[in-house]
């Protein structure tokens, strides 16, 4: 796959701009996500995280710029790009009258998955959906719904996965399960983007971090790289401190005399 030692990006965002009635929700944003990389997308409310995710998934069209998924332009070749992609929104959006099993069967057929039954069986166990195969979504707890949404996203073994606030409202056991799932997919070579306000989670599983504010890229890189980019920061500063300082919610400490 790699040519001349350069690994092609799974997700490539080039000068992405999205304008709503004169307001720039995303402003000339560029970044890439490589196979096996987990990019933590963080920023205050209204920073443009969800808009960026929706542009990457093709739900909304960019005003300017390009989004490539596995080398395919999401606007020019949406079907080809989406075949490699999975999106898990913050709220699990499920079909009211499809059971758990039917959801997986439907998505598998939508993506043309070969031999889907064994893959579904693996996901039932991995995401603790075993015993709920014939349940309708309205009988499931929020956590189970979220797990079903994740199972639907993973059954076609996507090479690019986008999680928008994947852990909201989940219990500690479910959180651990989903963290393991994310790590496992990244280890398998998928490129993953996680948008979350849970900074300790992002710090724990992201290999790179992209901090947005007012639709613009504020910081981008590994944790040590973004630590180095913020002046007057403690050496052991965590992501929360970096976030507060970079976004201006916390002033730098007074210099000691």
């Amino acid at each position: 796959m790699a040519q001349n030692g350069i690994v092609p990006s799974m997700i490539e965002v080039v000068n992405l701009t999205k304008t709503y009635e004169g307001t720039r929700a995303v402003n000339e944003l560029s970044f890439t996500v490589q196979p096996g990389e987990v990019l933590g997308l963080v920023g205050p409310n209204g920073a443009g995280k969800t808009t960026t995710m929706r542009c990457i998934t093709g739900i909304i069209a960019p005003t300017q710029g390009r989004v490539l998924v596995c080398g395919r332009d999401i606007v020019l070749d949406p079907v080809g790009a989406k075949r490699e992609l999975a999106f898990i929104p913050d709220e699990p959006r499920l079909f009211e009258y499809l059971t758990v099993r039917e959801h997986l069967a439907f998505v598998a057929r939508l993506y043309g998955v070969q031999d889907p039954l064994p893959k579904a069986e693996v996901l039932y166990d991995e995401l603790e959906l075993r015993g709920k195969e014939d349940a309708l979504p309205n009988t499931l707890s929020r956590g189970m719904k979220q797990k079903l949404a994740i199972a639907c996203a993973l059954i076609h073994e996507p090479r690019a996965i986008l999680f928008d606030e994947p852990l909201t409202g989940l219990d500690p056991v479910a959180i651990r399960r989903i963290k393991e799932t994310i790590k496992k997919r990244a280890a398998g070579g998928a490129a993953i983007i996680i948008s979350s306000h849970l900074l300790n989670l992002v710090e724990l599983i992201a290999t790179k971090i992209l901090l947005l504010q007012h639709g613009k890229k504020l910081l981008h890189g590994t944790l040590p790289e973004i630590q180095a980019a913020v002046p007057n920061l403690r050496e052991d500063a965590d992501l929360e401190e970096i976030f507060m300082r970079a976004t201006g919610y916390e002033a730098p400490p007074e210099p000691r005399v």
């Binding site: 959006r93 079909f95 009258y97 439907f106």
Partner: protein
């Protein structure tokens, strides 16, 4: 592969939905409304009627008029869809569909066709209703009626989708609001021009024999005749008497539908963003409507709101704070625009009646409108405006945590909602009574004041009672008062009907004493008037005042009872 996946989604969802709805009929909460709704449907459409040959003959003789009028109506609604397309949503899908289908490897053409397929389920139900309606009705062949109705609605549906997708395409190409309205404006302009060529002033309504030739000239001759020809063929299908008429209409309908489908799908309009925004918006409004009725839905439309004109005093009884909250909940979504359609209908009705050359027509219009609005407000008002305790059932645990007695919570909720309907009622009665010219008889102003005062004393307590009973039902039977998720159609009709019947029975029991007082007052007024005592007319408002006070006393007793039940209601024991 992907088309079969979409077919799987449609068929499996339909099957599961049906199984779910049938299996829950084991619960009386769903069975009773379902049976009531079915009974209502049977009475409305299924019962055999009009079986005489004379009626069949009459139906046959007016068929050309019905076809012409239907053709004009289809053309009108079709043209309006193009005119207002820029204001309409591009393509409606729910949030699950947007999230799952717009991110899946599907073409826009596939998604548009899936959406059309999904709309077929309710349309097939509608076709079945048309079949049942036509059954045993002479002059209508049920299969033709059902296919005809299906084709007509589908044509309008596809027309709306095509218009909306064109507007969306123009938006994506950077056209402004004016540019996006241009295709619709040009179409409507052309149609108006076509019909203007045939237009002559219409004859008065009482000369109905002249009306038919006038309509025939307007819709059949010249260019308008050619424009309406295809739509006449489609609308003739439902009442076709022979196979060739039906087949001709079917061919025209299918051709038009094919043309619209090709136009809509080949535009390749980027509808995903609008679909997402709409899905979120509709989801929010449906939930608001489910809990808060019409005022809840109006409230859910708002993005921002001006400070309310109703001010809350810093100190005072707790129930007034509840009442203030209820008034704001019911009024915040209402603006002058809400009343514009009703005012327009009223003005048009009055103008039509006034131009008939006889004063009694205007009086008839005033009496009819005044009575209908009054009855609707009293009977349907408490069911339509649900933004009171019925909406609060969702957050009952919070309401129960407030340091306010159950009676005061109910009092605030009930009086807040009832105040608005009462004001509207008094205004309607005032306007009607003073505009009424008495069918040629002279009515003294003093007598008009007597009537308005009587209504003002008696009607508001009746409305308060209606709201008290609806909110009381929410306390006594919370799971009944709340509209269950997924309820709709026959079940919802039946549920509303049962609740209304129950409320009317209880109202008639509670109002028996006040009604006796009012009857006695009116009898005294009439007797006094006959005996030549002019002042006797004032017995009517006096008795109405007394009856109103008795009703309010009864309402207070009911609120005390419901309030105690509210204080003991376990929020976790009921599934709202």
């Amino acid at each position: 592969m992907t088309n079969s996946a979409l077919f799987f989604l449609l068929t499996r969802s339909a099957k599961n939905s049906l199984v779910h709805k049938i299996s829950r009929l084991k619960n009386p909460r769903y069975l009773l409304p379902f049976l009531a709704g079915m009974a209502y449907l049977w009475v409305m459409i299924g019962m055999p009627s009009f079986s005489s040959n004379q009626v069949a003959h009459d139906a046959e003789s007016i068929a050309p008029v019905v076809q012409s009028v239907s053709g004009v109506l289809v053309l009108f609604f079709g043209a309006m869809a193009w005119l207002f397309a820029p204001n309409n949503p591009t393509l409606y899908m729910n949030e699950a569909e947007v999230t799952q289908l717009c991110t899946a490897p599907l073409t826009r053409q596939q998604i548009i066709r899936y959406r059309w397929m999904r709309a077929q389920l309710p349309l097939l139900f509608m076709a079945a209703v048309a079949f049942a309606f036509a059954f045993r009705r002479p002059g209508i062949f049920p299969p033709y009626a059902s296919v005809g109705a299906w084709c007509m609605v589908n044509l309008l549906l596809l027309n709306g989708v095509a218009a909306a997708l064109l507007a969306g395409k123009l938006k994506a190409l950077g056209f402004g609001r004016v540019g996006r309205h241009m295709p619709g404006a040009l179409l409507v302009g052309a149609l108006v021009g076509v019909f203007a060529l045939n237009f002559t002033p219409p004859p008065p309504l009482k000369q109905f024999d002249e009306f038919m030739p006038w309509l025939d000239n307007l819709t059949h001759s010249g260019l308008a005749g050619y424009v309406l020809w295809p739509l006449r063929q489609v609308t003739a299908m439902a009442s076709a008497q022979d196979l060739p008429t039906f087949a001709r209409g079917l061919c025209v309908a299918l051709l038009l539908m094919f043309a619209l489908d090709q136009f809509a799908t080949r535009l390749n309009t980027p509808f995903e963003e609008d679909a997402l925004a709409l899905a979120q918006n509709i989801g929010r409004r449906l939930e608001a409507f489910r809990t808060g009725g019409a005022s809840g839905a109006a409230l859910a439309k708002l993005q921002t709101a001006k400070p309310s004109r109703f001010k809350l005093a810093e100190q005072g009884p707790a129930w007034r704070a509840m009442m203030w909250k209820s008034v704001i909940a019911q009024t915040r979504g209402v603006s002058m625009r809400t009343f514009v359609p009703f005012l327009l209908i009223g003005v048009v009705l009055l103008v039509v009646m006034a131009t008939q050359g006889e004063e009694r027509f205007v009086d008839l219009a005033i009496v009819t409108m005044g009575s209908v609005i009054t009855i609707m407000l009293v009977i349907a008002g408490p069911q339509v405006l649900r933004n009171d305790l019925r909406a609060e059932l969702q957050r009952l645990d919070y309401i129960r945590s407030l340091p306010v007695r159950g009676k005061d919570i109910l009092r605030g909720e009930v009086y807040g909602s009832a105040a608005l309907i009462s004001v509207a009622l008094v205004l309607v009665v005032f306007g009607s009574v003073f505009a009424f010219r008495g069918f040629g008889f002279r009515i003294e102003y003093a007598h008009r004041v007597v009537i308005v005062l009587s209504a003002a004393f008696m009607l508001p307590p009746v409305v308060v009672l209606g709201f008290a009973l609806e909110n009381g039902a929410a306390v006594l039977m919370p799971s009944w008062a709340a509209v269950a998720p997924g309820s709709g159609g026959v079940e919802l009709v039946g549920r509303n009907m049962l609740m209304t019947i129950l409320r009317l029975i209880l109202m008639s029991l509670v109002l028996s004493v006040p009604a006796g007082l009012v009857a006695a007052g009116i009898a005294a007024a009439v007797a006094g008037y006959r005996a030549g005592i002019d002042a006797a007319a004032w017995f009517a408002p006096l008795s109405a005042l007394l009856a109103g006070l008795v009703t309010m006393l009864e309402v207070e007793l009911l609120l005390a009872f419901f309030g105690r039940r509210l204080e003991n209601l376990d929020p976790s024991s009921e599934r709202f």
